[in-house]
Amino acid sequence: MGSIFNEMLNPDGSVRGPYAQIHDWVGSLGTAHVERALKEAEGIFRRLGITFAVYGAEEASERLIPFDIIPRVFSAMEWRRLTIGIEQRVRALNAFLHDLYHRQEILRAGRIPQDIILQNAAFVPQMVGLTPPRGVYAHIIGVDIVRVSETEFYVLEDNCRTPSGVSYMLEDREAMMFLFPDLFKRHRVAPVENYPAMLRSTLESVAPSGCKGEPTVVLLTPGIHNSAFFEHAFLADEMGVELCEGSDLFVEGGHLYMRTTQEPKRVDVVYRRIDDAFLDPLTFRPDSALGVPGLFDLYRAGRVTLVNAPGTGIADDKSIYTYIPDVIEFYTGEKPLLKNVPTWRCGEPQALKYVLDHLAELVVKEVHGSGGYGMLVGPTSSSREIEEFRARLKANPKNYIAQPTLALSASPTFTGSGVASRHIDLRPFVLTGDRIRITPGGLTRVALKDGSLVVNSSQGGGTKDTWVLED
């Protein structure tokens, strides 16, 4: 897909507008200075307990995510254009979810094959006919976006279940403001610190209609062993709401309550960070000890709001992804402003043949996988890895999709051997309640290995502060 877009420099070597001052600043950074700053940053993160659990890595079960001090910068104009596209997409996703669980017009119209929805494990039949408050299903969406040129952005995937990473966005900003206050004096950077307040407003705005007075919101976590537990505790603290485990909540007399040291307290909105399957052992997985028995019945009765709604996973399933441009057109009547990455569905024989012939050039992903596990990045894999993957793909082609390796844009990043170009992506966080709210910025993830395109933190990726400059 052509050459790699450099976020800081134009092809002729001149500096792109938003980076005018960053460029000089980066040039002025001595190695010793940077190393001291990184050490300080690490100290801040450790003290705060910002860690990320990596599944399968026992000795490092609470690891820090590497943090890069060179920010990723958008101009106000670039950001405006991007947010219009994001808003369009998020509106369409919520309309899509509403339709799938009601009249299924899009299936009737033949725009998406029925089977891939109705036989999809992510489709939750218990949601059929149910309308959540304000008709919102996916209140919190993280849209993974990559940039390939000055004006071209592609959506890699939509995270409509329980997207994580927002705490890194907030902490990266805190760290940067602590380490380089000068830099902020010289720029007008849109603040991100309102996110927890915006999240709380969003959650309160979707309280059940029967809720009188100020709604009580809680955050439901699977507990301290979850990889994102730090984020759960952080957000609960920032929002000023209780951080609950399933055992703290119970259903009685048609309402949800939490067990406190005094009287039980009624709960109206549950921002849950546990998966659908574990929400309620009476409705979903009976062996779940993480959820609350009877919760789903209450939800159906409109006594409590679950955020995000159960069953939103159908909208971000990788097998549905390829249809999202149609989804956007179908519900908004507009052309999609943000593009999808061209994708081959390996379940289709023609596509499979092409993919098998071009494995070395493609990225192949499991339809249901996440976090960068179980995927093949053709161009950076050995021929042995490719052959091993070929066998897995042939055995179960329906389980995979393939995409060209995108030339992710690159940003100056501090590495062991000085400043070098590294590939990045972007996950803005979009809140939908009484209205759509998008924090100016988001989480920029960076692949720290030279040439690597995998930015996932579970695979050694790092993060950067993301700046949106004000006009």
Partner: protein, 315 residues
């Protein structure tokens, strides 16, 4: 506040207190095991350490004989022992992590830092020469935690629940240490006033860091069983005595009662126990039997702990 949050605060303080007491018991046990063989019965001393630590059952489930290295390992590092220092520190830290938002940064850092360091230590590296320093370090970390708690926590329910954990545990420990001396090491008439006897009373006092305080307080050069017992049961000046613990337990329960505007049974019962200790005298206690007195106390203490858990909806 969630009942689970209260429970975590209670247990994390309790486990830190237990870790500290364990270090103290080991310190004393180890000291005795180094004494010349002239003082017989060092196996009995280790056994009494195990009993005081309530680790007899877990130890003998794995080991047939009492040996110094195995005892040390069991009390410091054994993951199967729910009261080993390692288990205590891990549990305390995990409880702290679950209620991270209820703790001040200083309290959290003391818990987190202690566990991070402890978890890096390989048991084999703590040989006899490093043991005393290591035990000191454990005590220091527990004191750092307590200092952070006292110095930075709001006097609110979070603080009261932590205090309850500390003093329920401490009361239990002190009562147990005294009881073991009286029951397991029941003085034979011939031993009274002998070197062995003095040795053992000094052990009891050392286990609660009170051997010097005792001398200052009673201005006495020998340990008199009568006074040692009084010191550890009835003297409010002594910060590990039963009455001191109950002074603080009532204070915390009253604080909670005021905060929540409600009086509960655990508050009444703790207040009564405190009043009994305050009115108590050693004559009566010895008359009716020290062992019986201490057994009753441990049971009452356990009952109050259970009532606290029930009253405040611990899961």
């Amino acid at each position: 506040m969630l009942g689970r949050t209260a429970a975590s605060l209670f247990w994390l303080s309790r486990y830190v207190e237990r870790a500290e007491n364990m270090a103290r018991l080991l310190e004393v046990g180890y000291r005795i095991s180094l004494m010349p063989r002239a003082i017989e019965g060092h196996r009995d001393d280790w056994r009494s350490t195990l009993t005081s630590a309530a680790c007899e059952a877990s130890y003998f489930a794995k080991h047939k004989d009492i040996t110094t290295p195995e005892i040390i390992h069991h009390l410091l590092f054994d993951d199967d022992n729910p009261s080993s220092v390692r288990t205590c520190l891990r549990t305390a830290r995990n409880n702290g992590r679950a209620v991270r938002t209820a703790l001040t940064r200083d309290v959290w850092e003391s818990l987190n830092g202690t566990w991070n360091e402890y978890s890096q230590i390989t048991p084999g590296s703590i040989g006899p020469d490093r043991l005393p320093g290591f035990l000191d370090w454990i005590k220091q970390r527990a004191m750092l935690f307590r200092g952070a708690l006292l110095g930075t926590m709001l006097r609110h329910d979070t603080y009261y629940f932590s205090q309850l954990g500390t003093f329920i545990e401490r009361a239990d420990n002190t009562a147990r240490i005294l009881d073991v001396k009286y029951y397991i090491l029941l003085p034979k008439p011939s031993d009274v006033g002998s070197d062995v006897d003095i040795q053992q009373w000094s052990t009891v006092l050392r286990s609660v860091s009170a051997h010097r305080a005792y001398r200052w307080f009673y201005r006495d050069s020998t340990y008199r069983p009568w006074l040692v017992a009084e010191f550890l049961i009835l003297r409010e000046e002594m910060p590990r005595s039963l009455i001191f613990c109950y002074q603080w337990l009532t204070r915390s329960l009253n604080g909670l009662g005021e905060l929540y505007g409600q009086r509960y049974e655990c508050q009444t019962e703790a207040t009564e126990l405190y009043a009994r200790l305050k009115a108590g005298n050693m004559d009566d206690i010895f008359q009716s039997g020290l062992h019986e007195f201490l057994q009753d106390f441990v049971n009452a203490n356990n009952r109050i702990a259970a009532q606290i858990a029930q009253t405040y909806n611990f899961p």
